[in-house]
Amino acid sequence: MMDREEKVFHDDDLYSIMKKGKRTMPFDDFEDKVMDKIYYEYAHKRVVSNKLKLSLIFFIIGTVSGIVLALLFSTFGDPVFGMHPKTLTLLILFIIAVVAIMSLDNFLRLIKKYSD
């Protein structure tokens, strides 16, 4: 039901003009173009999603290997590459932490974007 405020704007002429001037989508292939984009988007999403899973696996493998390697170095008694094993361990762990934090942020953003 039309309230009082709307009644002020009630205008038969304008209703009639606007109805007569109603435009239709002038491009016949519009629906197909959008559907093609949707199919492409869906396929693209699946490919990216699969690659994302794979890269996550390698990321975990890399991180675990790095930590194991760092812990292994810490058991050495002699200096490695001219560095004390504990210093080397700390350096490796620091690098792993920085890379992990940076990658994790990107991962989370991509997962959010491409999650089904």
């Binding site: 309230d3 704007f9 002429d13 009639s16 606007m18 007569k20 109603k22 435009r23 559907m35 869906y42």
Partner: protein
């Protein structure tokens, strides 16, 4: 009906999205072209809006109306596009062919010509004015719905609608007087 197709799309039936294309493309085009004033830009805007709707369907609040939600996307896309193209708005000056209507009656013209004249007149109006005319007189949305879709305040919507009516009357004034 919308609800059924939303569910289908969310269950992975992408073809079900064609239902929304069939039902909303024309009205979305009307809304978009009233803002960007160009058929090609309007088509791009509507395409982008449909893609956004498809991607965002999961986050769509099902208690709301799909149509209102979708029009909001179309309007946002259209205004974004308008900013991008930085198309210079022609200030409101009634075109020769429309002034010419003083000697005749719009409604006496052939249908295609009427449509063309009305389209030209809407193209001359500022985007907000032609949009509000489309939403109020063509889509028959209430003022409250228009505020909801556009994000404008009620007083602002009323001012824009009033100006739009005055401008339309300036263009079609004598025509409208003789039509009744």
């Amino acid at each position: 009906m919308d609800e059924l197709y939303i569910r289908k799309v969310l269950e992975g039936d992408q073809e079900a999205f064609r239902y929304f294309l069939k039902n909303y493309k024309d009205m979305a085009f009307n809304v978009a072209v009233s803002i960007v004033k160009d058929n090609y830009y309007a088509e791009e805007v509507v395409q982008d809006a449909f893609m956004k709707a498809f991607k965002g369907l999961k986050s769509f609040n099902r208690t709301a109306k799909f149509k209102t939600w979708f029009y909001r996307i179309v309007i946002n896309e259209a205004f974004q596009r308008l900013r991008k193209i930085k198309r210079e708005r022609v200030s409101f000056v009634p075109a020769e062919e429309i002034i010419g209507l003083e000697h005749t009656t719009l409604f006496e013209l052939p249908e295609e010509e009427q449509k063309h004249m009305i389209g030209e007149a809407l193209n001359m109006l500022p985007p907000k004015e032609s949009l509000v005319l489309t939403l109020f007189y063509l889509e028959e949305y209430s003022l409250a719905d228009i505020c909801n879709i556009t994000g404008w305040s009620l007083s602002n919507t009323k001012v824009i609608l009033h100006r739009a009516r005055v401008n339309m009357r300036l263009m079609f004034g004598s025509t409208l007087k003789t039509s009744h």
